[in-house]
Symmetry: C2
Subunit: 188 residues, 2 copies
């Protein structure tokens, strides 16, 4: 991705946040980076594509971090704890994009949607693998690893409905709290 | 609520499910109950109001069931387990309404939205109270009861994104699995 595209994505994120996704126009985004609307279409095809790219950018970095943690030499409990913390930090740092994605994914162009879904599946598989390993090592209670992963991700994703960044709860404290509950939820 | 209104609500639920909320028209609903569109407006003001009433109906019954369980003579663990099962059954039985509500609540008329939010708060408070009691009795680990309740509700609400009623997983088995994880998530 080149510098101009990064600049357009940053502007889109800011304008979606300020005006709301439905209230924001391609024109607003073009104006804010000093391009004519027609020239902006050289970089992106639609508002939906911008949303998909924003969400994909956030997800990509998070998946890489999770992969690193999952591959560490540590107990499944310790790795799961760190993975949940990382994931909660990512959700709280990208609340707007997460909320938008969850409401609007039906409107995304098919190729973008397919890519995002593959990434989300890969991410869920990382959680499932660590949980499955913990079950085999009898560190975690024997149960369905996929449901366990979905339950934990649900616990974290649901933040987009209730977490208020300006509230009393700091993201780091929240990450600790949810990681603790997540590890307990699968422990023996 | 009288019989005609029940009939209209049942028709709306069916048509929203068949055509999708945005694809369904007031006309479709009027046709299916044998009313002229103008006459239907005698019973309901808008499609948004129908959505709010459908969700409210599902929520009302669930809150009553949860109140009964919360008031039982049983340990906090046992009550929490039953409450989560009841809640999971309600979510899986009303997946369409839950998904629609979560995507569309921003479009609901203010009075309906206020009523639904009050009901959701009351429901969360039931979970929070039982969890808080379990913490005071040292049956649960000491932590923030509100975050614990939100984590458990998130685990269950997230079903609307992944649970497929025609899949291998029966609602009753899912209710058991999630109730087990929920109780573990707060236990010492």
């Amino acid at each position: 991705m080149n510098g101009r595209e990064d600049e357009i994505l940053a502007a889109a994120a800011r304008i979606f946040r300020e005006k709301g996704y439905h209230g924001a126009s391609i024109r607003d985004i073009a104006d804010s980076v000093g391009l004519l609307k027609g020239s902006l279409y050289h970089y992106i095809r639609s508002k939906e594509e911008l949303l998909a790219r924003l969400f994909d950018g956030a997800l990509e970095g998070t998946v890489r971090e999770l992969e690193t943690i999952a591959a560490r030499e540590a107990t499944p409990s310790d790795r799961l704890r760190e993975m949940v913390k990382t994931y909660v930090r990512a959700v709280t740092a990208n609340l707007d994009a997460v909320g938008l994605y969850l409401r609007e994914w039906r409107a995304l162009p098919a190729p973008e949607l397919a890519r995002l879904r593959a990434r989300r599946r890969a991410m869920r598989a990382l959680f499932e693998d660590v949980i499955g390993e913990g079950m085999r090592k009898r560190e975690f209670a024997s149960a369905d690893a996929k449901i366990s992963a979905l339950a934990i991700l649900g616990m974290c994703n649901w933040l987009f409905e209730w977490y208020r960044p300006r509230g009393r709860l700091r993201p780091e404290a929240l990450a600790d709290e949810l990681a603790d509950r997540a590890v307990r939820s699968v422990s023996r």
